[in-house]
């Protein structure tokens, strides 16, 4: 690979500096060198990528994914998960600690970092547990986790049921300034639930998960964040009521951020009508009304970021009766294509979408972990190039992820990642993209 690369003739969008121009982008030594309408001084041996008609933006940053390693390597590994992420346009991904063993101490974080350094094609940043073994009983050694390099703390997959423990976790996290990222689910209320509570659940004879299962815990967390002054981040927000709670908390000055997934933004509960276990996800797909509220929350800043919650499972695990199938959708490789629907439908601007995938998650992670989500001069050359109008049909056989569990198989999407560049290196490239070299 050459040390320099020129991406030509593209539309360059970088929300971190309010940039939206047509022009060229030059990379040298793995860093952003220059953005100009027409870069004149091109180094010799420079790789040339003609990106006419495409959009060039900072590499996507995902704040919530499951790489399943260690412990569940049949579902995914750091190698396969990062490759799938690169194909989806991601250059930084933050992996959740619900592995086996759970990421609740320095040794497990070191394992993620070492394995990532060797096997991941992009940047993997681990998230550590809030409580030991994710049991919700005793705090994990947060100081040790912070020193080991976690970007946040989360017991994702479960909620800390004991509000006193949650309060203390928030208080203690203040020492390190790390956000507590909470999977908000009142387990007593959602117990045994399969899909959104409502008429589809009635039709299918499945136990419903009411909105309040999510909203109750968000309301509690807001109260505790207010009390402690700590940072709270709400995972995969899914209901209209949750958006309203977060909106009001922000008005109140609570240090709260929130994420939404592509599937909650683009698919409703109808997706499970044929007992499709690939559409079984937690929180469940909700209603069209909830989707409208999520989009408005995204637009007015209530919802800070889009996070993928990539949750791969094996075919066998999903090929069973609905009630015993695991929750989760494999999301990296369809993320952009499904999110672009919002842009094509004129629900949101493209710059807003890119911001929620780049500058905003970078802001939550903080600059401690290198300057992410930007094309500013001198930043790491983490870049995503996509064709906003390319139509394609999802075929899970082409997935790099081991998890083929998506309800979007055979669906047509419009918007496709053409290349992903990490630290100046092309880590993913669509077959149609040709690289040239300047003599």
């Amino acid at each position: 690979m050459n040390k320099s690369m020129l991406i030509k003739n593209s539309r360059i969008i970088d929300p971190s500096q309010d940039l939206d121009v047509i022009g060229d982008l030059l990379i040298t030594d793995g860093k952003i060198k220059e953005i100009a309408p027409d870069v004149k001084k091109i180094p010799t041996d420079c790789t040339i990528l003609d990106a006419k008609g495409m959009i060039v933006c900072p590499g996507f940053v995902d704040f919530h994914c499951h790489l399943r390693q260690p412990g569940f390597e049949e579902k995914e590994t750091i190698a396969t998960g990062s490759k799938a992420a690169a194909k989806g346009g991601f250059t930084t991904i933050c992996c959740m600690p619900n592995t086996d063993p759970a990421l609740d101490n320095k040794a497990t974080i070191d394992f993620i970092k070492a394995t990532s350094a060797l096997e991941a094609c992009i940047r993997v940043l681990p998230i550590g547990c809030i409580t030991k073994g994710r049991k919700g009983l005793e705090l994990a050694d947060m100081g040790e986790l912070a020193e080991a390099g976690v970007v946040a703390l989360s017991d994702d997959g479960s909620t800390i049921a004991d509000s006193r423990i949650m309060k203390q976790a928030l208080e203690y996290s203040l020492i390190f300034g790390l956000p507590i990222s909470d999977h908000c689910e009142d387990a007593m209320l959602s117990n045994g639930g399969q899909i959104n509570e409502g008429i589809i659940a009635t039709r299918l004879g499945l136990r419903g998960i009411p909105n309040a299962a999510e909203e109750n815990v968000i309301a509690r967390d807001i109260g505790l964040a207010k009390l402690t002054g700590a940072r709270i981040h709400i995972c995969h927000i899914s209901t209209e009521g949750s958006v309203e709670l977060v909106r009001n908390a922000k008005k109140d000055g609570v240090r709260i951020t929130a994420e939404v997934t592509p599937h909650h933004l683009t698919m409703d509960e109808e997706m499970v009508l044929d007992f499709d276990t690939n559409a079984k996800v937690n929180p469940p797909l909700r209603t069209k009304k909830d989707i409208a509220a999520l989009i408005s929350g995204l637009k007015d800043g209530t919802i800070d970021i889009i996070a993928i919650d990539h949750a791969p499972h094996t075919d066998n695990e999903k090929l069973c009766e609905f009630a015993i199938a695991p929750f989760g959708i494999s999301g990296f490789e369809t993320a952009l294509g499904s999110l672009m629907k919002l842009v094509h439908n004129r629900d949101i601007e493209i710059s807003l979408l890119i911001s929620k995938l780049t500058a905003m998650p970078a802001k939550i992670i903080g600059s401690k972990f290198s300057k992410l989500g930007t094309l500013k001069q001198g930043a790491a050359a983490d870049i995503t190039i996509f064709d906003p109008d390319a139509e394609w049909t999802v075929d899970t056989k082409d997935f790099y992820s081991k998890g083929k569990n998506t309800p979007l198989n055979c669906h047509k999407l419009k918007g496709r990642v053409m290349a992903t560049i990490f630290n100046g290196k092309v880590v993913y490239k669509d077959k149609s993209v040709k690289l040239g070299v300047k003599a």
């Binding site: 509570e197 409502g198 008429i199 589809i200 659940a201 009635t202 039709r203 299918l204 004879g205 499945l206 136990r207 419903g208 009508l273 044929d274 007992f275 066998n316 090929l319 069973c320 009766e321 609905f322 009630a323 015993i324």
Partner: protein, 335 residues
């Protein structure tokens, strides 16, 4: 044919299935949500013909000779299984029975694996009872055999709803505009769900009545996903003027899960009693899919009273299931 749910016995050739019943589209019987009114009509008329066969001294006809019917029950139900068995036997099918303990489901023993075994046995029709909603739908995607849902979770029990409708037609002229009230644990009842589909398709006016904790969710605005029915917690209002009153079995563990304060209170507030029934239409019939918890959801005097058709339902079950076997064997689903 006008589909109004009236019985008009059709001329049935016993020897072999009629070649192409243009109306019949089903390879599987999973639920009644995808049945057309004409199909339901056809089932009613075919059932009438089967009913006639059942009154003969020799009940056996060769419709399913050489065909294998397998019953696969993950929940014990002697009544339903023997009804299917008898129906298959009357049509000269070979029958195998497989009982799988429902604990094997949670142990991760794969339904798909079991179905593959059944397929290897050469099953043409699999009659399936399963504790999880949607299990027959899954099965239908993985085997060549026809699947008949004999009850899945809280989802559907199509053959029960069809035999209920046939029983109603034996007493009423038409399903159209019939006032049918279903009382009891609606949310957990596959029988109620399938009845709501078939009855509303045929133009009945359906009312469901239960304590609010046992009413299904989303019923204020159910369409297009579910039929519109009257919903009430007031049993007297529900029974008033009804042509058919159907009770449902109350699982006694509903109390433990906090859905009901006590079985005693349930009986006091929601039991179908003679007094309450006196407000119904004079010719009301009382139904129940069985087995009945006497003096819980229905007073024993009502269950055994002259308005009760509960025993007929059992007899009609065999005829309906014969009709469904017959239609599956000769229907035009492969065109």
């Amino acid at each position: 044919m006008e589909a109004v749910g009236q019985i008009k016995a059709i001329d049935l050739k016993d020897e072999k299935p009629q070649p192409a019943q243009k109306i019949w589209k089903h390879k599987h019987i999973l639920d009644l949500d995808d049945f057309s009114p004409s199909e339901i009509d056809l089932v009613m008329q075919t059932t009438e013909a089967m009913h006639e066969i059942l009154s003969r001294p020799i009940k056996k006809v060769p419709t399913l000779r050489g065909k294998t019917v397998v019953t696969l029950f993950y929940e014990a139900s002697t009544r339903t299984r023997s009804s299917f068995e008898l129906a298959a036997k009357n049509l000269s099918a070979d029958i195998s029975n497989l009982t799988v303990s429902s604990s094997s489901v949670t142990k991760g023993e794969s339904l798909i694996d079991t179905l593959e075994t059944i397929e290897a046995l050469g099953a043409d029709i699999v009659v399936m009872r399963h504790p999880y909603s949607g299990a027959p739908n899954l099965a239908s995607k993985h085997v060549k055999a026809s699947i008949i849902n004999a009850g899945d979770g809280w989802h559907a029990h199509p053959t029960q709803a069809l035999l209920d409708m046939y029983t109603m037609l034996k007493h009423k002229n038409s399903i159209k505009n019939l006032k049918v009230t279903i009382i009891g644990d609606i949310i957990h009842s596959r029988v109620a769900h399938s009845n709501i589909w078939s009855l509303t398709k045929m133009g009945a006016e359906v009312t469901i009545c239960a304590p609010s904790t046992l009413l299904p969710k989303g019923m204020d605005n159910p369409q297009p996903y579910f039929p519109k029915v009257n919903v009430t917690t007031d049993i007297d209002k529900a029974i008033k003027g009804a042509d058919v009153v159907m009770g449902l079995r109350l699982q006694l563990e509903r109390q433990q899960s906090g859905l009901l304060p006590s079985i005693r209170e349930y009986s006091r507030l929601y039991q179908i009693t003679e007094e309450r029934l006196s407000k119904a239409d004079n010719d009301v019939i009382v139904m129940h899919p069985g087995p009945v918890n006497e003096d819980v959801e229905i007073a024993s005097t009502v269950a055994h009273g002259d308005k009760s058709v509960i025993n007929e339902q059992v007899t009609n079950g065999v005829a309906v299931r014969m009709a469904l076997f017959y239609l599956l064997a000769g229907g035009s689903h492969n065109e």
